[in-house]
């Protein structure tokens, strides 16, 4: 760590990032230092951050969890608690130092000169007021206008953020808007006062990839129209490449590198920048390979790439598939009224069929609500499916009794998305890992302990960590623990439900590599459920694309990604942000739409689907 904080900051390119802004800066930050009060004195969490943003310019601050990127934006807005934080340095907005303003003056700056949009559009709107009213409120707070004028202006803003039928949606409530539409509303509110600076703090992180593409396009368009300076905070290098003119890389509170986005991407100097960039999955980087590919790793001291280990073919296509799913259907009834009458059903999974071979990774991709997680849970019978047949290792899962089901669960295991929630906080990790063997009476306590120790080493942790509790571990380490626990029963199939989605990009790469290693050494079959196309491309042998509960396309990974047949697959691939700054300011011109809902009325008969074969094993739905 010392090595990094003591080394001087790298400036890439001749124009040298922040020192020479192209035009007169709107926002100019110098030597920003933020400290938090802790039990013993002050802890410095952001050190010596300096940058300028001119009108119509976008500066991105990129970094992983705990790098201080959000603290930077909150410091600029002075939104941190006065008692427990200390902000030093200079934040100049059009020549005015924001840090020396009195609190009342600062309040006039917020939402007026500088606006902010946040990550969670679901929680940042008040659920009991209509959307239009909330925008109108943002207008009347700062300016003296009549109610009618405020309404007209609010509708104009809703149109400006490209919400279809803006006038008719004025009186609708937040729950009637999808996540992407709510983020548009948040942007409309932020624009209400015609701010000079827009701070966007992970504005697309909680959104689906096609919606993310639309929102990024919108921000670019609005910036051109309004001439705002945009400070974009994100962890996603793909998003950075798409939006940012200049980029600052934060690492544990230090700006380790700053410069033009192109220079950072192509000529990044700092080892951390290189490690970060090499861990970013790039769509279309497989180069005609059929097998999965490990993520490259970078030595953090030298910045040199470590050569990739070879991946050999583990798929046992000659044997009977280890997992066979035939016409799997899961529906949830919607009941309403005083007597709980059935008024409809969520058709979460509809006639899904596929096979998974030993040593193979089949990925299920799709956006939120497409039924991919329900598919995983139905297969392991955490949810009881409505119909269909699931065969694991020759056993019909649907016909098993409760006790036989418990025994069957030894062969099929799950890894969950949130590593913070999947471990019992009151149980030491040793006990948690040993528990499966003891519960199934597969060995004595000392045998279980030996196996747990062996598996901890295998997932890259050390055996002497067994006495510790989950809160002592980071997210990536916890996910490794969850993997070790799943391996205790020697499963043949592992259902990984968004298993790497909550992890930082470098950790994500490491965990993906771990899963590949485990497949190489244990011949595991993975059902890899994910919304992340770039990760999926890297780890899978075959891919299934799901949309509204149905598989629309399935086939060998190379065939699906290089030659997508179904419209939805094409749309999904086109929406993935590409970590290549050359594509910046190219708009996708995507249609503004919302994801359709799989809710159907009672008695709905799903259409009988036809599938066509594009190449051997590559099927797509005929619509």
């Amino acid at each position: 760590m010392n090595l990094i904080s003591e080394s001087p900051m790298h400036y890439s390119g001749q124009e040298a990032g922040f020192t020479a802004p192209a035009r007169e800066p709107v926002l100019s930050v110098r030597n920003l230092n933020t400290s938090f009060r802790t039990g013993d004195g002050w802890k410095n969490v952001v050190r010596n951050i300096s940058f300028d943003i001119a009108a119509r310019e976008t500066v991105a601050i990129v970094g992983e969890s705990g790098s201080g990127k959000s603290v930077t934006s909150l410091s600029i807005m002075r939104l941190l608690s006065v008692e427990s934080s200390r902000i030093e340095g200079q934040v100049m907005l059009n020549g005015r130092d924001l840090l020396s303003l009195r609190e009342e003056e600062m309040r006039r700056v917020r939402g007026n000169d500088i606006s902010m949009i946040f990550q969670e559009p679901m929680t940042s709107l008040n659920p009991i007021f209509s959307v239009g009213k909330q925008i109108a409120e943002a207008l009347t707070v700062h300016t003296d206008i009549t109610e009618a004028a405020a309404k007209a202006e609010a509708i104009r803003l809703l149109e400006k953020v490209r919400i279809p039928n803006a006038a008719s949606r004025f009186d609708e409530y937040p729950h009637q808007f999808s996540g992407g539409m709510r983020q548009r509303v948040m942007i409309a509110m932020a624009l209400a006062s015609r701010p000079k600076v827009l701070i966007a703090d992970e504005p697309t992180t909680a959104l689906d990839v096609t919606i993310q593409g639309q929102i990024l396009d919108l921000i670019k368009t609005l910036q051109d129209e309004e001439g705002m300076a945009v400070l974009f905070i994100t962890h996603d290098m793909g998003v950075v490449a798409e939006v940012a003119d200049r980029t600052i890389v934060l690492y544990r509170g230090d700006a380790v590198e700053a410069g033009k986005t192109e220079d950072i991407f192509h000529r990044g100097q700092h080892p951390y920048t290189r490690a970060l960039l090499s861990a970013v999955p790039k769509l279309g980087s497989m180069g005609g390979r059929d097998l999965p590919l490990r993520f490259p790793t970078v030595d953090m001291t030298t910045g040199q790439q470590v050569p990739l280990a070879k991946v050999s073919d583990t798929v046992a296509r000659a044997k009977r598939p280890i997992l066979e799913v035939k016409d799997l259907t899961t529906r949830f009834h919607i009941r309403s009224g005083a007597f709980g009458r059935k008024t409809g059903a969520v058709h979460a999974v509809e006639n899904v069929s596929f096979e998974l071979f030993e040593g193979e990774t089949l990925s299920i991709v799709g956006e939120s609500g497409c039924g991919k997680s329900t598919t995983g849970r139905s297969i392991t019978r955490l949810i009881t499916p409505t119909g269909g047949k699931v065969t694991v290792d020759g056993q019909d899962v649907m016909k098993l009794s409760q006790s036989a089901l418990r025994a069957m669960r030894r062969s099929i295991q799950m890894i969950f998305q949130d590593p913070y929630a999947s471990l019992n906080p009151r149980m030491s990790i040793g006990a948690a890992i040993m528990e499966p063997v003891l519960q199934h009476r597969l060995g004595t306590k000392s045998e279980a302990r030996d196996k747990a120790a062996m598996l901890l080493e295998k997932v890259g942790l050390s055996a002497d960590m067994m006495a510790r509790f989950p809160h002592e571990f980071s997210g990536g380490q916890r996910q490794r623990i969850a993997i070790a626990r799943a391996l205790m029963l020697d499963p043949k199939v592992i259902v990984a439900d968004e298993a790497v989605s909550a992890l930082d990009v470098s950790i994500k790469a490491q965990v993906c590599n771990l899963l590949l290693d485990l497949q190489q050494s244990l011949n595991l079959a993975f059902l890899f459920i994910s919304h992340d196309m770039a990760v999926v491309e890297r780890v899978s042998h075959r891919v299934a694309v799901m949309y509204l509960g149905e598989i629309v396309e399935i086939g060998p990974r190379a065939a699906v990604f290089d030659n997508p047949q179904h419209d939805y697959t094409r749309k999904l691939i086109a929406a993935v942000p590409v970590p290549d700054p050359a594509r910046r300011r190219i708009k996708r011109n995507m249609v503004v739409d919302e994801l359709k809902s799989p809710v159907r009325p009672v008695g709905y008969q799903p259409a009988v689907r036809q599938y066509r074969e594009a190449s051997p094993g590559h099927l797509y739905r005929v619509d």
């Binding site: 955490l382 069957m408 799950m414 009151r426 809160h471």
Partner: protein
């Protein structure tokens, strides 16, 4: 995907912030101190008590508080202070044991109902709702009258009246826990439902239950006193606080000390338990933890 800020906001083990909040709450110390005092007095009653609580003395009938009899004597000439000290043993043990039984049975029912769900849940919660709609005293009175008045039967009667609230308190967090990934992980690892409830759910909801236990122990002591006052308590001549009030009630105009001192004892004990319960609840609820 989301920014977890690992290094800065590591969630600590859940018990420690509770204890810390409790330690900060000065009001809680009054409750704890008072309760500790009452428990010590009850344990060491034979050592502290100046007289035998059952020994009658015709010469000192209804004598007011004096240096010989600090809290006076009753109509049989028995020392009120000594009876009070021995009465604490009855009140506290009935309160503690009945709540213990109610807690074990009620929480078990609540966890089962919450975890199993469906029809079983509806039936259990239906019964709980019916039981909650009876006033505690009335229900206790019915059960005590049916079983007959004795130390054991009183415990059972009071335990029955207080099982329902525990079932309700245990059910809600169980349902929340059931949706947590580590419970789902347990199911997918093939653990038995009983094991999941015992090892993965119970320890995580125990704090909610303990808070309620301290509040309901206060109620149990009140119920015991009320039942004794109506004559359904532990049979005389055993000293109980409720029974002492009942006996003193006949002479309330001439001998105030017969009613006032046992009433004060009940008041202080119930107050101590309520303060402790409130403090525990505030300490466990993260929303109120910072205040106090």
């Amino acid at each position: 995907m989301t920014d977890f800020a690992i290094s800065q906001s590591m969630p600590a083990r859940q018990s420690s912030p509770v204890l810390r909040a409790l330690r900060r709450n000065r009001f809680a110390w009054i409750g704890i101190g008072l309760l500790a005092l009452i428990v010590l007095v009850a344990i060491f009653a034979p050592v502290i008590a100046p007289y035998d609580p059952l020994k009658q003395n015709i010469l000192h009938r209804l004598s007011p508080p004096s240096s010989d009899f600090w809290f006076g004597t009753d109509s049989y000439g028995r020392d009120v202070l000594s009876r009070l000290l021995y009465g604490a043993r009855i009140s506290l043990s009935i309160g503690f044991l009945s709540v213990l039984i109610a807690m074990v049975v009620g929480s078990a029912l609540g966890i089962l109902a919450g975890y199993i769900g469906g029809v079983f849940d509806q039936i259990v919660m239906g019964i709980v709702d019916v039981m909650l709609s009876f006033p505690t005293l009335l229900l206790g009175l019915m059960v005590a009258a049916m079983l007959g008045a004795s130390f054991e039967n009183l415990i059972i009667a009071i335990a029955i009246t207080e099982t329902a609230p525990f079932a309700r308190v245990a059910r809600a967090p169980t349902i929340a826990m059931k949706r947590r990934d580590f419970v789902e992980a347990g199911r997918s690892l093939g653990y038995t439902p009983l094991h999941i409830m015992r090892v993965h759910i119970l320890p995580n909801i125990l704090s909610d239950i303990v808070v309620v236990a301290s509040l309901w122990m206060a109620s149990a002591i009140r119920t015991e006193a009320s039942l004794a006052f109506i004559g359904l308590g532990v049979l005389p001549p055993t000293a109980t606080w409720g029974g002492m009030i009942r006996e003193g009630f006949d002479n309330i105009l001439s001998a105030w000390w017969l009613v006032v001192f046992p009433s004060l004892a009940i008041l202080l004990t119930v107050l101590a338990l309520n303060i402790l319960g409130d403090a525990l609840r505030d300490a466990i609820d993260p929303k109120t933890r910072s205040q106090g």
